[in-house]
Symmetry: C2
Subunit: 286 residues, 2 copies
């Protein structure tokens, strides 16, 4: 893409910076942040313009909303009235229904995006979910991602939120529940280590990996993806149901087999064999 | 250990065979199975004796109960009256309180064991939980495991069952709940793959790995470890509690931080970085 005036609302954040640095060649970048001071600080070393969100979007060809999930919809409503009807209005939030609904009120060109990677990584090979909702100008972002070797997946906001309610929502919630039960058991880490298997160690390590990040991100995904509340309810329902099923050997065997039908059992066995082999040869040696 | 007459009740099973093959040098082995025919079939190629459980234990110096969890206590009561008071009576079941209680009725020499590995592996480096309950003769089994390079951990049956209620019980139950919610979501494997992250793939693969085994083992552990019912209840309670906590940003952040205190966050981050690196370089290439 060339000669576009690109306003990155939230351009002082890590993802905003990451985008600005990859878009600045041949385009004019202007960013906003939590304050004009902050924006100036980050913009000047790059030679970018800066200002308040509702100012920088005026006259921009492309507006990218790159702010925390919790404030995304509010920010869209704040800057939206100043976005030109013909400007491409897009966002990079991890949930899609609410931001896209909000953006549709302010432009004829709307694209919801969910880049599924951390801004510290390169774009090559990363999954980007694309929800083009209005107009045709979204293809300039398609070109941008493709130039950088991303793996694009086109869908609608509802399907996105439904799938991520499992891939992110269920996964994080299950890990939190597991962590809470372990904590309540009051068994010491040493005691656990005595009984730990490679798989137990790996699953608790993945849980601890999440707990080593910021609570805000995980709380926001749970609360701002409208599909996840149902998933949390399903966790409670399934746990209650399985508590009963497990008491009856025959019913349990049937259930166990049924559950297996939703997974690639042989592929999983082969892949996890390799991981376990790797764990016993490598990680434990340290 | 030398010149012992060792009766392996359930010696036709995989673990019984594994033990027999490692104990036969310098000792006399005699096994029983679900039928005398079965026992004969497995015993003859090895040159072992065979017979019904309650017959082979007569006059044995060591009796090892190696039958499925679900029938362990019944089998102990069946053969127990024929076990000599001075014989070492031991088992290899994954739960310890009930089998050890039962064995104590029949001998002055009682040892509960939980070898935490599959019989297809070598003993070297494997964790063996040892619960010596009566007498001193259990040291012959200690020597046996040590000769083979096992990693022994001494404890009491209640502590064992409490720890494994988390390491095995919670882990398996959580995986079952996750699998059930994924199945109910009716998202196709293809759809999931579009959104899958390396960590999601790994956790669902570990779940599928369990679902690729026999239901009986997992059902038995859930039902025969008396501590696991509480764990299943805790899963339901924690999930319900977290559903509420998650709605309040401040409360959630507090909870998230608290949960992190129970884990080795930095170690987990380092270990999982390596696993994720391995996954992206190796497993995905196939």
């Amino acid at each position: 893409m060339i000669d576009q005036k690109i306003a990155i609302v939230g351009g002082t954040g890590q993802f905003g910076q990451h985008l600005g640095e990859r878009l600045e060649e041949n385009n004019e970048i202007v960013i906003s942040g939590s304050s004009v001071e902050r924006a100036k600080e980050e913009a000047e070393p790059h030679g970018w313009g800066y200002g308040e969100g509702k100012e920088i979007v005026k006259g921009a060809d492309i507006v990218i909303i790159s702010v925390p999930i919790a404030v995304t919809v509010d920010v869209i409503h704040e800057v939206g009235p100043n976005v030109s009807d013909s400007a491409l209005l897009c966002d990079v939030t991890s949930v899609k229904q609410k931001p896209v609904e909000a953006m549709k009120q302010y432009s004829d060109e709307v694209l919801g995006m969910h880049p599924m990677y951390a801004p510290s990584n390169s774009i090559k090979g990363q999954k980007i979910v694309m929800c083009p909702e209005k107009g045709k100008k979204w293809s300039v972002m398609e070109e941008f991602w493709e130039e950088h070797g991303a793996d694009l997946h086109f869908t609608d906001p509802k399907s996105h939120d439904k799938a991520t309610s499992i891939v992110q929502g269920l996964m994080h919630f299950s890990e939190l529940v597991m962590a809470d039960v372990i904590r309540k058991s009051e068994l010491s880490t040493d005691e656990m280590n005595e009984y730990s298997t490679p798989i137990y160690q790996l699953i608790t390590d993945l849980t601890a990996r999440m707990l080593n990040q910021k609570a805000e991100l995980y709380g926001s995904i749970q609360n701002h993806n409208p599909e996840i509340e149902d998933v949390r309810e399903e966790v409670v329902d399934s746990a209650e149901e399985l508590r009963e099923v497990i008491k009856d050997d025959e019913e349990f065997s049937k259930k166990f087999e049924e559950l297996g039908e939703s997974f690639d059992l042989e592929g999983a066995q082969e892949r996890t064999d390799k991981v376990i082999e790797f764990l016993s040869n490598d990680v434990r040696d340290d």
